[in-house]
């Protein structure tokens, strides 16, 4: 199936770029590999029927946030210097902890719609996912009815209107905080 091959291509691009973010010694190289990871993730979002989120991912994350990172790296004139690793016992302990975390997270790979329905209902019998999950709620169905932006705008401006308005307060606080912190003398 074509979509599956495209998915695995972008998934491997994302994982390899993410590894390079951690491995690269120069922070600017790390930042560019992180941009690559985010673009690959945006492609995966498009494949998973989340076109709006994929677009926002490219505009906000790969565009705005990463440019902010690059500005700060260049402002601080980083990029030289020796090893960037922590002391040997500390980072070895870190890798062991991460191994435990990975072994606990990896069973997620076995999840399917059927298994999710089974655990959702806690029934001993095989549950039909079509009965458990309201298919009118699914993203694909909503896109057919309202289009891509309308699909996400309806819950955003109805069910989640108050959290949405509160984010504006959060952003204002963040702007004021960033200016106060970065200014030499207020």
């Amino acid at each position: 199936m074509m979509a599956e091959q495209v998915f695995w291509f972008f998934a491997s691009v994302a994982v390899v770029s993410a590894l390079l973010v951690v491995v690269m010694r120069n922070p600017i190289a790390s930042a560019f590999w992180l941009v690559n990871t985010m673009l690959a993730l945006a492609a995966i979002f498009f494949l998973l029927q989340a076109q709006f989120i994929g677009t926002i991912q490219i505009l906000v994350y790969a565009g705005a946030v990463m440019v902010l990172f690059l500005f700060v790296i260049m402002l601080l004139n980083l990029g030289r210097g020796g090893s960037d690793l922590r002391r040997a016992p500390v980072w070895l302990l870190g890798v062991v902890l991460v191994g435990v975390l990975a072994s606990q997270l990896m069973p997620l790979a076995g999840y399917t719609r059927e298994r999710l329905a089974l655990e959702y209902t806690r029934s001993p019998y095989l549950a039909d996912p079509e009965m458990v999950f309201d298919s009118t709620l699914s993203a694909a169905q909503a896109t057919v009815e309202r289009g891509v932006p309308g699909d996400i705008a309806k819950p955003l401006f109805e069910q989640y209107l108050i959290p949405f308005e509160l984010t504006s307060v959060l952003l204002l606080a963040a702007i004021v905080g960033a200016v106060v912190l970065a200014k030499r003398r207020i």
Partner: protein, 98 residues
């Protein structure tokens, strides 16, 4: 559907982000690894929104807003630390150490 594979990729990216946070010393690289972890969680939200409805994507929207605010404040803090210590190496920033 690709539910299982998406969750696997999400778990892998999150793990790589944790490795970066635990292993590196440069504050900016650690910050980028935190962004990577946020992105990994966004992927699992989007994957599960195929089953549970569009609310997952709305949540990704909020996560992105919070991440942008966090990046602005965090980078301002790193700038202030750099101005004080002339380095962003976390091993040299140990004021709270007894």
């Amino acid at each position: 559907m690709l539910l299982g594979p998406s969750l696997a990729v999400s778990a892998l990216l999150f793990t790589i982000g944790v490795i970066g946070v635990l292993v590196r010393r440069n504050a900016i690289v650690i910050f980028m690894c935190v962004e990577l972890m946020l992105n990994a969680v966004n992927l699992s939200f989007v994957a599960l929104s195929q089953v549970h409805g569009i609310s997952g994507q709305v949540f990704v929207f909020f996560v992105m807003t919070v991440a942008a605010a966090e990046a602005a404040v965090g980078l301002a803090i790193i700038l202030a630390i750099f101005r004080h210590h002339r380095t962003v190496d976390l091993m040299n920033i140990n004021l709270l150490k007894g």
